[in-house]
């Protein structure tokens, strides 16, 4: 028994995690751990070409190999009207290719066999005849005259353009630029990266031939939404579909979409009448499932003679791959990118965005990010540092002078966001103090005089998380509320179920703590369940830092509903009037007589045994929470780097991160989230990259090429906090899962650019690899 067990576990307590017990013993229940009787295994054949016409698929040899039950082709899927499926962005995506393959790694056929070895053996025996077509690998290529038409099957699609989207005030912004004392421009490419959770995606589809009920165990961050999409795609009645997300080995956005493998495995199980397991290998995960970013951005910042920012103009080209399947609120084609004015009081802004098809994997998921806020934050924070360097101003001071001021909240941004709360100078000051900024600046100057290449980078990000409010935020029409259902058992223990799904964030602990705070039942007595669509209330799932802002709020609200009922029961037990009772966490007592009290456990028992006349029995309820606004976590990150002139290697000497995510429910878990995000941000800034050669071959399709930081490269983090509660969230919490990935890449890169600025170097696109740094230094004549 740890000390934790004796703690109440209310808000603000760093109790140890309830979910650890099974993971520590190797008794987690991940998708690949599941074995069902008579289960078959599926292996998918994928296209080696980025763009090619399929002339024929010959499965005859494969079909007669040992252990093979079936070989599924696009043609077979087409017979069942399942060769194509809708995406989350109102496009269509091939399940198994019938006409063409449009990216390397696209699903072409699948083998179902008794063992996975046999499935792979037979896959090697499928013969596909391709006619190779020229490939498009960038928006520039997609726009070029005479570019091959990728989506030739789409009626009315004459080119590779997907969408044009605008936000802000064009005329006002133009006028502001006309009057600007200085305009600073940054063109930067936020490259394609991948969430790469350590567990790949997979499913076990089990369609019962007798009842027709499809139970699909699936690595899904959003099981309810997936069930609805499945019902729409397959035509199966929704009550006959049960999606169960077991323990998930990391998601980071990768496990939001519906992937062809899920559909094929389900169809195969339906056709064969046996359970079918499909587990991606790592390269399948990297080449075919939801990538992130791939944004080409040009930003202009107008500044007046006093160093005040006066306008922001951004154009971006989005590379969406072969199918537009971004997982994002339907009204926003470029996600929430228009939060791009960030932490600054910029009077006017105008954003234009164009999306393009390319012969690359589809996806466009938010890798630990709230729908493209990462790209926005990166652009503005890089632009602000570049502006400071170009104007000869201190990076921190320039930010301070342009921050939205604490007294301006709630603040309406130039693109219409209503920031709920913030105190940006405070977070900046905590960060600078932790860093010892003034001393460090002097130290940097001294080192530079000795010939060292060193610098400091700052980023003061503002996030926008917790979608939605449902009127503005929906996915395929499903409003982005979330839910909590709470049952208190007669003995005063409770079961909480939510529409979200933890992938490591510690929901079983954090959400129990909300009940502990609001209803007074110790966190250790509250079981939390998510992920089973037959038992949990409907919700849109866990991504975009929305669990605490939305489902967390729902949990608080349902706890309060139950507390209201508990008050009536307590009044009945104490023979007092409702309004004469006072609530103290865990009990009601009669005003002025603290010894006349009933604990929540006593009240729960009474709810099943001794109710007031006419009251419905039981103590349970459900709440669907539609947030009135997004929440806006923020913070300041600061990084110090040293650059090796001979090799171009960058070493992060220090990383200070000050986060304000409002009220922290479990500070230990919050800090863990920040550590993880800072590390993924470090990976994105310095090593993670999926790129393509001119033929569309994917480079970065395995962990030898797609580089993830180990403990050895990862910096040690110095963490700080400020607390500015959200005024509209019932607990004042804001969500924190993604802040560090959103805010940190710009801080890392700004540090490198600051280090290189004495040589006139103004940009290096991510990942900032040693060869790029060397080349930049070399171009300025710097060498060892």
């Amino acid at each position: 028994m740890s000390a934790t067990m004796h703690m109440h576990g209310g808000i603000g307590e760093s109790i140890k995690r309830k979910e650890d017990a099974r993971f520590l013993r190797g008794k987690g229940n991940y998708i690949d751990d599941l074995t069902l009787p008579s289960m078959l295994h599926m292996a998918i054949l994928r296209s080696p070409h980025a763009h090619a016409r399929i002339k024929s698929v010959d499965t005859s040899a494969a079909g007669s190999m040992p252990g093979v039950i079936a070989v599924v082709t696009g043609e077979l899927m087409a017979q069942h009207k399942l060769a194509w499926m809708p995406t989350l962005s109102y496009d269509t995506q091939a399940v198994l290719a019938t006409d063409k393959v449009r990216f390397q790694g696209q699903e072409v056929a699948a083998v179902i066999a008794e063992t996975k070895y046999q499935a792979e053996d037979a896959r090697d025996a499928i013969v596909v005849d391709y006619e190779i077509l020229p490939a498009v690998t960038s928006p520039e290529g997609a726009k070029a005259a005479g570019a091959p038409l990728i989506r030739d099957e789409k009626e009315g699609q004459k080119d590779n353009h997907i969408y044009h989207w605008e936000s802000g005030d064009k005329a006002k912004t133009q006028a502001a630029f006309a009057n600007a004392a200085k305009v600073v421009r940054l063109h930067t490419f936020y490259p394609r990266c991948h969430p790469a959770p350590l567990e790949t995606c997979g499913c076990v589809a089990d369609v019962n031939p007798a009842t027709g009920k499809a139970t699909i165990y699936m690595t899904s961050q959003a099981p309810h939404a997936i069930r609805t999409v499945f019902a729409l795609v397959t035509g199966l009645p929704e009550q006959n579909i049960r999606v169960i997300s077991p323990d998930i080995g990391g998601g980071f956005g990768n496990k939001v979409p519906v992937y062809p493998g899920y559909v094929v495995a389900t169809a195969a199980s339906l056709l064969i009448g046996r359970p079918v397991k499909w587990i991606e290998d790592r390269s399948e995960n990297l080449i075919s499932t939801g990538f992130a970013r791939d944004y080409h951005m040009t930003g202009d910042l107008a500044v007046d003679a006093n160093g005040k920012m006066t306008a922001l103009r951004v154009h971006l080209d989005s590379d969406n791959g072969a199918f537009f399947s971004d997982a994002q609120p339907s009204k926003f084609k470029a996600g929430l990118f228009h939060i791009v004015t960030g932490s600054y009081d910029i009077p006017t802004a105008h954003i234009t965005a164009d999306g393009y098809y390319t012969n690359k994997a589809p996806g466009g998921v938010a890798y630990r990010c709230s729908f493209r806020v990462t790209e926005a934050s990166y652009l503005i924070e890089r632009l602000v540092t570049n502006a400071a360097l170009e104007l000869g101003l201190d990076q921190a001071e320039f930010r301070m002078n342009n921050f939205v001021k604490p007294e301006q909240f709630p603040y309406t941004s130039a693109t219409g966001w209503i920031y709920d709360s913030g105190d940006y100078p405070k977070a900046m000051n905590v960060a600078l103090e932790k860093l010892g900024y003034d001393e460090l600046r002097k130290d940097v100057e001294a080192r530079r005089k000795k010939g060292e290449v060193t610098g400091i980078g700052i980023a003061s990000f503002t996030e926008v998380v917790g979608a939605g409010h449902g009127a503005d935020f929906d996915i395929l029409g499903l409003r982005m509320f979330d839910s909590a259902e709470l049952r208190v058992h007669p003995t005063g223990k409770a079961l909480l179920r939510m529409g979200t799904k933890s992938q490591g964030q510690g929901h079983e602990t954090t959400f129990a703590q909300i009940v502990a705070e609001e209803l007074g039942i110790p966190a250790s007595d509250v079981a939390v369940e998510e992920g089973d669509t037959d038992t949990a209330p409907y919700g849109l799932g866990t991504y975009a830092s929305r669990s605490t802002p939305v489902a967390g709020a729902a949990t608080a609200m349902v706890s309060r509903k139950l507390r209201d009922k508990a008050r009536m029961i307590a009044a009945h037990l104490l023979e007092a009037a409702d309004e004469d009772l006072e609530w103290e966490r865990g009990k009601f007592y009669v005003k002025g007589s603290p010894d006349r009290a009933k604990t929540i456990q006593e009240i729960a028992f009474a709810a099943y045994t001794n109710l007031p006349e006419g009251m419905e029995a039981g103590l349970e309820g459900v709440h669907y929470y539609d947030p009135p606004n997004m929440t806006y976590p923020f913070g300041t990150y600061a990084v110090v780097v040293d650059v090796d002139k001979g090799t171009g290697q960058v070493k992060v000497r220090r990383m200070v991160a000050v986060d304000d995510c409002g009220v922290r429910i479990n500070p230990m878990i919050v800090e863990g989230q920040i550590h993880g995000g800072l590390t993924e941000g470090f990976g994105i800034a310095f090593m993670e990259l999926i790129t393509f050669d001119s033929e569309g071959n994917c480079i970065g399709s395995n962990f030898m090429d797609y580089l993830l930081p180990t403990a050895w490269e990862t910096p040690k983090f110095e963490i700080g906090e400020t607390v500015t509660p959200s005024p509209h969230h019932p607990l004042g919490a804001k969500g924190v899962g993604e802040s560090a990935t959103v805010g940190s890449p710009a801080a890392y890169v700004n540090a490198v650019i600051d280090a290189l600025s004495p040589y006139g170097i103004t940009n290096i696109d991510m990942p900032v690899t040693s060869d790029k740094v060397w080349a930049a230094l070399r171009s300025k004549g710097v060498t060892e």
Binding site: L24, G26, G249, F252, H675, L708
Partner: protein, 170 residues
């Protein structure tokens, strides 16, 4: 081929094709699913087990190669009902989030402390550098192993080893 090995202290046998990987043998034949698979290129360490006490990647070993040898998986760390010091450390220091890399990390930490009872942060970071974690940023994994080192040292100097059984778990 017939293979026999000691797994978590007990003799286990199986009949496998030579191409069957040790990770797969442990997961499929022995139902020890705590050993995970995260990549195909010997990069991630999710499949780490101890081979005669040393951490190795069981996805890059054939089951037939370890015939006659001694394997420890995550399921072998707890003794009786009591978590091992390293397991306690991971719980107390929040050294895990999604739990997928955790078995490998804990086994590496266990082997490290056998060899070096009081490792520095640098030594811990180096020792776990063959294992990838996507969630924790490694900060708390380092602390977890340091915590375990302290628990072990305290237990070694205390009159009764029962202290080890305290703390951790649900």
């Amino acid at each position: 081929m017939k293979v026999t090995m000691r797994v978590n202290g007990g003799e286990r046998t199986g009949d496998v094709e030579p191409r069957v990987l040790l990770a797969d043998f442990l997961r499929t034949n022995l139902a020890l699913t705590g050993t995970h698979i995260g990549c195909d290129t010997t990069s991630c360490g999710a499949c780490t087990v101890l081979l005669d006490g040393e951490p190795v990647k069981s996805c890059t070993l054939l089951a037939v190669q370890v015939d006659g040898r001694d394997i420890t998986t995550v399921e072998g760390l707890a003794q009786g009902g009591a978590l091992s010091p390293v397991q306690v450390g991971f719980h107390e220091e929040h050294g895990l989030q999604c739990g997928f890399c955790t078995p490998g990390m804990m086994l590496v930490g266990t082997a490290l402390l056998e060899q070096n009872p009081d490792p520095t942060e640098e030594q811990i970071r180096w020792a776990i550098s063959g294992n990838i974690c996507r969630c924790t940023g490694y900060m708390n994994i380092v602390k977890a192993i340091q915590h375990a080192a302290n628990v072990k040292q305290a237990a070694a100097s205390a009159p009764s080893p029962a202290a080890v059984a305290a703390g951790g778990g649900e």
